[in-house]
Subunit: 336 residues, 4 copies
């Protein structure tokens, strides 16, 4: 039985606590938060869990195997580093750290201590995204032409991070998981509509070494919620709409076929294919439950997490490059 301590009981922490309580193979022993009233709520729901205000009490508790961190980004590095140094396995909320230097140090520390360092890229553990990866791994789409994601709504304005750190990171984590290639450069644009606050609208184009392009559109200030991803391939195309109640992933047997014949000026070189559409059944397990079980499995069997420190670092580096490009109004920035 893996004994878990959770730091941060704000918006996301309760979901983590519930899932590590429900998962066979783990239990939550203690939760830390600075806000007394949050802990009081926790105790009503989970009277067996210890509540503390000081994270050091968790690090120093030798009965704990793992620390789960769900605090603001700025504290990720310090808390995760302290947990690793105390010999704990660590699951940290996305993004892994506030910059790539910190992310690298965490990876190194985890390697040195032979501890698991996993990042909570939740979408990677959804049935929809796993199905997409399965399809792409099986080359069901042919050559991948583009990946286009829209993630917009009237959402909570953050003040410490902009909309790329908050929303686009979800799409970057999905791309990192499902696409065979990694982006090499980025052009980003965006704007803040509230003076002195981080950007609340942003657009990112990601370039790859092959004939592929990706784009992410994120916005905290739209009247309707959209979660719409298109993946185009030479053979088939996917529409992934996370707001659909059941058919979240649709595969279209559509595309173009390029003819070799010479053509007149008014005519086309390409003809169109339009075939069936298919929406595979998706497992209904909550993503965070799949993720909790995967974390436990990595601890017990020494496996590498699907969203390990390296994945976390790749995302932080991509966001860093995007922010640099955004400051330069779209200028191309290489991703380290």
């Amino acid at each position: 039985m893996i004994k878990v301590g959770v730091i941060g009981y704000g918006y996301w922490g309760p979901n983590l606590v519930r899932n590590f309580m429900d998962a066979p193979g783990s239990t939550v022993v203690a939760v830390c938060d600075l806000r007394t009233e949050r802990l009081a709520q926790l105790r009503i729901r989970y009277p067996t869990i210890h509540t503390v205000n000081d994270p050091n009490l968790l690090f120093n508790d030798s009965s704990l195997d793992a620390i789960v961190i769900a605090t603001p980004v700025s504290s990720h590095f310090e808390l995760a580093m302290a947990a690793l140094r105390a010999g704990k396995h660590v699951l940290v909320e996305k993004p892994l750290a506030a910059n790539s230097e910190q992310a690298t140090q965490l990876i190194d520390e985890a390697a040195r201590r032979k501890r698991v360092l996993m990042v909570d890229h939740t979408f990677v553990y959804t049935a929809a995204v796993r199905k997409i990866r399965e399809l792409l791994n099986a080359n069901a789409l042919g050559d991948i032409y583009y990946y286009d994601a829209v993630r917009v709504n009237l959402g909570l304005f953050q003040h410490d991070v902009n909309v790329i750190w908050d929303l686009a990171i979800h799409d970057l984590s999905i791309m990192d998981y499902v696409l065979p290639a990694k982006a090499t450069a980025v052009s980003a644009t965006g704007i803040s509509h509230i003076p002195g606050q981080p950007e609340n609208v942003a657009y990112m184009t990601l370039f790859f070494d092959n004939r592929m392009i990706a784009h992410v559109h994120v916005n905290w200030l739209t009247p309707v919620k959209v979660r719409h991803t298109l993946i185009g391939g030479s053979e088939k195309m996917i529409l992934y709409d996370d707001l659909e109640p059941s058919e979240k992933v649709k595969i279209y047997d559509k595309g173009v076929t390029i003819s070799q014949s010479a053509e007149a000026v008014y005519e086309m070189l390409v003809s169109y294919r339009s075939g069936d559409m298919w929406a595979p059944r998706l497992d209904a397990t909550e993503a965070l439950q799949t993720e909790a079980l995967h974390f436990i499995d990595c601890l017990e069997n020494g496996e590498q997490p699907a969203t390990d420190g390296q994945a976390g670092l790749r995302l932080v580096r991509t966001v860093e490059a995007a922010e640099k490009s955004l400051r330069a109004k779209g200028q191309l920035v290489e991703i380290q």
Copy 2:
């Protein structure tokens, strides 16, 4: 009764012929196309219309008041210039010309000859776009924050022009008509998936002198058709979905209110407003009929077209800047 000659009877020409035939105040006297079989089809439908293969026969026909040009982009300049020099009024398919130098010459020629030069930016004549302009003119949205357009489908690949010239120009024409400010610079990205062919996916971010941003996403290779525009303002927001059968324009009384109070690190500076949604009734007149009547009105009463040569030139300049930026992978390019 305005007597019209039409050059080009391909995809769009038949719509122009039908509308100038149906409009009170105009009639189509002659149609020119190089393709004999296209003209044969026309004669079955409209036995009274003369059909010719040589556009000069139209220019030299002193009974004609106006020439409507619906040919490939590369021929716009030559045909429009010849028509103006023959003293005809001209309505030319979008884009006005293949480059801004040509567009400028056409504007100058029309001014010199006191002829009407109008560009067929069809969407400007739709009831939906006119309603949006009316709302923005009345300041119904407050400060405009962003304009975001998606226009994607499995569409005809063009070989002479890329997807920006083909599709984004519709969105640029709508923005030019409804927004009070004009874009000053652009960052564009895109890709061609068919070797040797123009870009079939493109993204454009448009910058303005105020706190506004615009973005256009166009793609000829998506499995589903999307025509989705979001316009965000400080007071209200619009969703314009051209595929909706009747409620194409929805106005949401939603947004954020910025509070002045000091806030703790976990809390927000902004609160959310969510009010009614409203979809105004839209006139069902076909856009091209409204446009034909406007063209006739400009000829008869000497009014300036809503989509005059200057509007056509602004769009061509914007697309030129976008293409330059696209070649430089997103680098900011000022719009002349």
Copy 3:
């Protein structure tokens, strides 16, 4: 080349003329309508077609092979009978006749004269309905449990016939074509909201000899248009939404499995299956073109039409029974 005469050039007639003009194997020689201005419009479009005011001129024209009738219901019998007696093949707009006695006489006359009598049940010739029939014929759904159709919109109020004759007949024609069994009795309800006018809202439940039920909801007075048919089977289920631009037919691998075990009072006897959804590609041919070609084929090769007089009679009998039930506020009426 089949020579066709068309009677009635109102709402639907122009579509019939266009399709018999376009179909290889037929041409429209003459059109009859009482309204001079309708015929004038026709002559502009089709200068080669003769126009007459008296249908007898068509019956007496020995060059004509077939008569297509697109007039109000009350005139179907007289016109179709005269055409058959003149030795013409006949395609008559739905419903075949105003009552089953008339329909029977037409069938008998056609049989006696060895002429084709076909009814224009247009939906039978759509790709969507043909795909549904193909699936049901292949037993893809298992046992059919129910057929439920909704066909409502803000539509033209008819004064000679009620909404069952106008709209429900479409659904009855589809059922007649795709379902293996025929309804044996009907319970119908409805109402007229405009004094002195036919019912503009109606509901019909159709009973079968097996464990199946069907229901049709039609309404001329709804704010939104709905064309929604559900077909439930023991193995799979179909959603047919005629307003979907491309995926009109969706097949769901969903249902219930009945367990044999004894169950406690709070528990269920059935468990749920949820599998993939699949939307087959549908042919894009216009239904009326498929129908015109089928009519020509029946004339030339002596085949029995898919929508022959008997099909037309079955529908008229069903509607007669429904009207009788409607007058009795839902009382069960057997279908003859």
Copy 4:
């Protein structure tokens, strides 16, 4: 502080417990269920609540003010009667009782004891339904022409009651609350697809003394979930779609206008109006919270519940009549 005891902690009980725990003015003191494992789950969540297996312990607990009953229908009468006789106020899950005789006895007992008897018709407490009532009360639709409800999904098969008792009762409760008139007779049809089990598909037409009609379609065996209600009026029409995330209620300024002039046979007596659509903002309070507060308010201030015993009785009588009609395959049955 109202002290509440809850009987039944199955599917719906936990929602009732949570809402009476959260409501200012009430607390849940004890919960009764026969299933030990359900009570164990409750104790983890709410360690302060007493758990018992015998409902008499609640009736005999003089500290309790009110009993909330969320058990199968067959036990409603016995439990509610015992609670009333013990001097408790009662909130009982829909339907109030298994037949109208029982419902009448409960109403009488509550009146005699001056206790509140309220039925949990949850939809009556949703913001959407309250907005519809407000609109109808203000005569915003003009004369009501029809009410048409569809409530279908792949749902839990019940064995003790059919789909009318389970699903249609929601629509009947909404109609009872929003419509000015009460139905006087019903024609119902339906079928069971699982031998020996209650009907899983049903259709009901409700007749009124005026020119109005209502219809309810319920089905436990459809591949897609639909919650779609149309209300047509002489002035305006409503579409209420409970699955819409935010715009659940849309009001359309659409309809027909009847002209008095004589008309030719091919023309219409009616012309069409098409105006704006409007979706009012709806309060986001959970319906059950509104309902709990209303129950508390009735107890404290002696008000009559919006969903009192009489409303419960009217629904039971309607369902009884519907079942009788269903057995007679649609024959009209008067509602007592």
